[in-house]
Amino acid sequence: MTDRRLPHHPVEEVSRDREVSFTFDGRRYVAFEGDTVGSALAAAGAKVMSRSFKYHRPRGLVCCSGRCPNCMVDVDGTPNVRACIEPVRDGMAVRGQNAWPSVRRDFLSVFDHLDRVLPVGFYYKTFIRPRFLWPVYEHVLRHLAGLGKVDIGSKPDLHQRKRHVHCDVAVIGGGPAGCLAAIEAAAAGAKVVLIDDQSELGGHLRIRTAPATGDARIAGLPGFEAAAKLTALVRSDRNIEHFARATAFGLYEGKLIGVSQGNAMIRVRALQVIVATGAEERPVLFQDNDRPGVMLGSAILRLARLYGVKAGDRAVVVTDDDHGWRLAAEIIGAGINVVAVVDSRNSMPSADLVQGVDTPGAVTYLGAHVIKAIGRSAVSGIQISTNAVKRSIKCDLIAITCRPEPVISLLAQEGVSPKFDPALDQFVPGVRTVGIQAAGHVEGVIDESIVVNRGVAAGRAAADAALGRTTVHLAAHQSGLRQPAGQQPIQFDLPPARKAFVCMCEDVTVKDIKQAIREGFDNIETLKRYSTVTMGPCQGKMCHSLSARVHAAVAGQSVSITGLTTARPPFQPVTLAALAGPHMAPFRQTAIHERHAKLGPKWMDMGEWKRPLLYTSVEQECKAVRDAVGIIDVSTLGKLELRGAGAGAFLDWLHPNRFSDLRAGRVRYRAMCDDAGIVLDDGTVARLGPDRFLLTTATGTIEAVEQWFTWWLAGSGRDVQVTNVTSEYAAVNLTGPLSREVMTRLTRLDVSAKAMPYLSALEGEVAGVPAIILRLGFVGELGYEMHVPADYGAYLWDAIIEAGHDLGIEPFGIEAQRVLRLEKQHLIVGQDTDALSNPIESGLAWLVKADKPDFIGRDATAIVAARGMLNALVGFEVTGEGVPAEGSAIVRDGHAVGRVTSCKWSPTLKKAIGMGWVPAQDAVEDHGIAIRLGVGTHGKTTSGKVRTKPFYDPEGARLRM
């Protein structure tokens, strides 16, 4: 190990007796178990870990808490991993991003000198002409700038999990305020969830030695011991479920919290939410404020305490607040040499704070501002100005320890608008949404004892509200926030620097913001969109309020008027895999599925249903149906059973045609329209008794149809009961000239043409099982559709196959069915019709009974009837070459006038046939049309002729055999 390691500290997370190794850009590094990639590299003295987005500037550790973008690396093929929080694993392969050939020596850093030709919004102004070169520009630009690359050939992680958690009180943030809020809420009887992104609880207390204050349970204990005490209290409380290393990435409507934890996505629903996300230091603006070696003070302390790594040998602390002095003392206590404190204030802090930093060689500069960081690939010094005198201080570490600002983004996501508090000179949470509270530093509280007590009060108040008790604590909590007086405004000056970075994610400088405002983007929202400030991976954590202050200073207005841009989830990046969760795509199988599987068909997905597309070939299956007998599993058809004295009239109401006059034992075609007269669905209705109907729908529409029926039934007072029997019945369609012969072998029922004519229905036994038999003909042949209780479905299929074996029975799939029905020009709703198709123009005018008193879609249909047809759904045969693709345009003079909805090669007719929409005046038998062949044919067309009658058996004689 190098000597960048500090002596052991009780809170450190590394196990110094267990070494692991990994590689970074091919070079091997040794770390301790418990190290992060960032801490391990820092321990080895590596400062440069990444390159910036646009200028390819060297970047290193800044926040050490996963907030900023400056240490993003590729780990084992996963891009954009933050090295500072990614635990090291033995054998890990880490690579730098956005650099060539490596982050240490990036040839593309030449862009750092080209900022004058790459100003803010340059892509709106340059690389536009000549236009034909834009694809080249785009390709080059995308390769030169950006973040990590996704390996699209890599196998996705399929081990995602999703979990739903319900609680009374959810606390986000495991610092002292959050822990005590959770403890108090649990003590008050609430079921509590505590979400924290660290491995251990305690927040900033973990890395401090200064005594905690406030609550008696922790007052007086050194910070890290107070953290341990809080952890023990939380873990011992059975009413608290603690999610460690879990990030709350979104706070959604209804107090839903999205949490990512490892490979799990947890949806937490709470009755009350307490946001205790604390406050974080913000960067300071000066030339080269992004150099490796410029770090937040808390980051330096985290690195030292948790991982035992010294970030530098000579540190200069930059501050504008007492917080900086406290942190400086902690940094010194951690074993890091502080050579100077640069305070922008003009007066010294209290004596106790000064004493904490009183070490040999440490110099204090008051009223001082930073001009620049010195050094190229890492900090080697700092130049400051005091009383207009410039001086340089040799150092390798600049600790930015300015007043922490509340982390309010999560609150802002759920309507808690940030407001600017002039007394605090910070943005703090504004008016609360009911059920969502803030506690601790996030409220803008500075005094540690108040922070702790706010957590206690919030916990009690939240528990009361969740459990329906009086809200004494809530009112007290909401009104009890009083800050100590005497907060000085934050010193904020705009540096004249060329490279003072406001947004390190997007390489947006102060100069860029000035220019954008000059160009007219003087509203904070338009400035954001034009400059992309706050739009990077950190989502404004490092730059949100900074950008508002810069805007205000440039625009010459107050920060409160400038405001902040809208905060939206995710607060922290979440992978799409985590959001998608485990692969749970429901599928449905018919009762006959296993029989199909044994035949090895080509499958297709029809919505959630698995259906056989093809068993052998379309030609063979079509021939079997036309010449002998075929069988198809139609169990997926939606089915509703309607009972009650009002069922017939209800069906009349819902359809353009009549069903109340349908005799028992008869079947009628149905097509249903909505209020606008648009065809929604079709199928059949069979009357099985005086008050009993069986209705079929298309596969996949049953849920919508059932909802439609339920909607119109509700409150109508009709005596109708609607039962969805889709799953109850398996159904097969036996069809072909020999189908009657097969039927006679299976049932004692009289299925002759006379006893069971076309469009009739029977109930009885088939192969010994109870069945409803419908005489139908979707594919244009003599056919019997049998519905049996699904438990008998497989048995029935076997019985039919056995009975028809010597007659050449063959199963046929969806593809053959599509061809066969097309030969009859039987439309498929949703394929041949769309959201603008009415029954009249769809060739269904015959079923509209305009003399009915009323029905849904009546008025709209009447308007179309009166207006006349503008378009028409017709059949066509292709007279030229090729088979047009479904969806292709029908053209006239090169312009689309219609479209193909269905088109297939018919093995029966030995030609390509189809259906499509044409202008009404073209819907004439033999009218010639030109049809595009489809995508990839470069607009080539073929010729066709309109056919207004079915191609096969136009008189329907075979149906009615």
């Binding site: 749970m584 799953s727 056995e802």
Partner: protein
């Protein structure tokens, strides 16, 4: 004339999970009744149900869906006891019946195979045999709550959903009807899955429950309690 089998009766009924049970080496209650009694290791299965979780195909049940405004009067006339919002058991004519009454105008009656369902008639009511429409799956064991927490967004905690209470909602992205049905001291849920989804639901439960020790267990587990 008829040449195929007639009066085939129950020997030709099959459940959607038959093939799956076969692959798991299920032993059947009787050859003609596709009702898994165990999967070859009844001791381990019982232990799983006690200590982690067991998934049971409750077998071929007769089911009747009764609905309409006249549901409650019709059930009362048939002397079927019910509690709206709950799955309860009662005896009608000496036969055990499970009554899932999820609304005043909708109930599902379930009975064991071989036990006839009562005749439900009346005004403004329909009773439709739906014996094939649902597969009833039961999960029993201390880990069932954790399994459901990964599959269902609804709060199913014992303090929220009491024994017998019925829920309509998504489980593994499929909308189902299910109820808390504890078995003695063991927490449990019964799901009525549309049979078309049965294979998917079984696999989803097993896949999710694997990390919690969920295994398929036979109906003997129910009979031992």
């Amino acid at each position: 004339m008829t040449t195929a089998r007639v009066n085939a009766g129950n020997s030709v009924r099959s459940s959607p999970l038959d093939a799956l049970h076969e692959r798991l080496n299920a032993r059947w209650r009787a050859p003609c009744l596709r009702w898994p009694i165990d999967y070859g290791n009844p001791v381990a299965e019982a232990e799983a149900a006690r200590s982690t979780a067991g998934l049971i195909d409750w077998g071929p049940l007769n089911k009747l869906v009764v609905q309409g405004k006249g549901t409650s009067p019709a059930l009362n006339s048939a002397q079927v006891q019910f509690v709206i919002g709950k799955a309860t058991a009662c005896t009608v004519g000496g036969a055990m019946l499970d009554v899932w009454s999820d609304a005043p105008d909708h109930s599902i009656l379930l009975s064991r195979h071989g036990t006839a369902l009562p005749d439900i008639t009346g005004q403004l009511v329909s009773a439709v045999d739906m014996s094939s429409a649902f597969t009833a799956l039961r999960l029993i064991g201390p880990s069932v709550g954790k399994i459901f927490a990964e599959l269902c967004p609804i709060d199913l905690g014992p303090d929220v959903l009491h024994d017998g209470q019925i829920v309509h909602g998504p489980v593994a992205n499929v909308r189902v009807t299910f109820a808390r049905q504890d078995l003695a001291a063991l927490p449990g849920f019964t799901i009525l899955v549309p049979r078309d989804y049965a294979a998917y639901m079984w696999n989803a439960l097993i896949h999710t429950g694997d990390r919690y020790g969920l295994i398929p267990v036979g109906n003997h587990v129910l009979e031992e309690r």
